[in-house]
């Protein structure tokens, strides 16, 4: 008798959890769900999303066309990968010196709930001044991630907070908005600057 109650409650609990997971999947993981390997990001001209930069300007993929572009995804509550990527990129931009001034460098948050315009402004302020921080409504972040074929997922932590799994690659586009290459997180970092130079070179060749 006692046991039957437990079983019934257990089933209800499983149902509730499944429903929550389903809702969570739909809202967070649906549009940003992992893509099959080999799916290349779209050209910037084929993307469609509206976000706000850390200075409050309305931005979108068209903002980036006309100059070579570096884009990466992350979030400011990320203790390890994101500050590492941001400091690596800051170092690459220092190596590129004046060439870096010709580029767009954009950090798009996958955690818009916590990463407000103000939070992004404060955070990017600690890194190279060329780095812009973009945030916006969850559905627009999802559309941006979809265009780049980036994925992200909210994961609860033991402390009652949550962290985000996300694509840690850096995307490089030429001035026309075509993908040049990607820098994977595990790649030796000395390969990064030559790759960025390639994006810049295509820009020079494409210049009229």
């Amino acid at each position: 008798m006692q046991r039957r109650h437990v079983v019934q409650y257990g089933a209800a609990g499983v149902g509730a959890v499944a429903l929550m997971l389903g809702v969570g999947w739909w809202r967070v993981d649906g549009p940003g769900a992992p893509k099959p390997a080999g799916q290349r990001p779209l050209p910037l001209s084929a993307m469609d999303f509206r976000l706000t930069d850390h200075e409050g300007n309305e931005v979108g993929p068209e903002t980036l066309i006309g100059r070579p572009t570096m884009v990466f995804f992350g979030f400011t509550y990320c203790p390890d990968v994101c500050p590492t990527t941001l400091s690596d990129i800051s170092g690459w931009l220092e190596d590129l010196g004046n060439e870096a001034a010709q580029m767009n460098v954009v950090f798009i948050t996958v955690d818009p709930a916590r990463d407000t315009v103000e939070a992004m402004a404060e955070y990017v302020g600690y890194f190279h001044p060329a780095i812009r921080g973009w945030t916006g409504p969850a559905n627009q972040i999802a559309r941006a991630a979809e265009g780049f074929r980036a994925s992200y997922e909210r994961v609860p932590t033991e402390g009652g907070d949550y962290t985000m799994n996300h694509t840690a690659s850096v995307f490089l586009f030429d001035a026309k908005g075509e993908l040049v290459t990607m820098i994977d997180y595990h790649e030796p970092r000395e390969f990064a600057v030559p790759k960025i130079r390639r994006a810049l070179t295509e820009y020079v060749e494409g210049a009229t």
Partner: protein, 146 residues
């Protein structure tokens, strides 16, 4: 006794293994306030002849310090999870470094301020402890020298 250990920063020789653990090149990044988790990095070297197992962390700086591991899969998606216990064979070392193992400092009690240090205690399965003063570098620091 434990207070003495904390102050002296060494473990006591009655333990089997952890007294031969040396922590090198510890560093961390400054935090923005206390809402975001911090991270600390170091090399943990076993200079002794017994295998040691690192079981946990304690620090007055954070209520929930834990060793986590960042992994990046074939699709380039990075994820983070508790690393569990870490076994270090005699003569070997384990590197806690950006993009891999790191001490994740959850529930910060104070902001991590550049130029300051904080004590971090590593606990081992033999009951021993090793405490290290971790320097806090800038938010954009890339390693122990930057």
């Amino acid at each position: 006794m434990s207070l003495l250990l904390l102050l002296s920063g060494t473990s006591t020789p009655v333990f089997a293994g952890s007294e031969d653990v040396v922590v090198e090149n510890a560093w961390s990044r400054a935090s923005i306030g206390v809402n975001r988790p911090g991270a600390a990095y170091m090399t943990v070297r076993n200079t002794g002849e017994d295998t040691v197992t690192l079981t946990g962390l304690t620090t007055p700086l954070a209520m929930m310090p834990e060793i986590h591991e960042t992994k990046t899969n074939a699709e380039g998606v990075s994820s983070m999870a508790p690393a569990g216990e870490i076994t270090i064979e005699p003569g070997q070392s384990v590197a806690l470094k950006p993009g891999g193992l790191h001490a994740m400092l959850m529930k910060l009690q104070n902001p991590m301020i550049e130029g300051e240090t904080f004590p971090l205690t590593l606990t081992f399965s033999d009951g021993g402890e090793v405490t290290v003063e971790v320097p806090i570098l800038g938010i954009a620091a890339r390693g122990p020298e930057s």
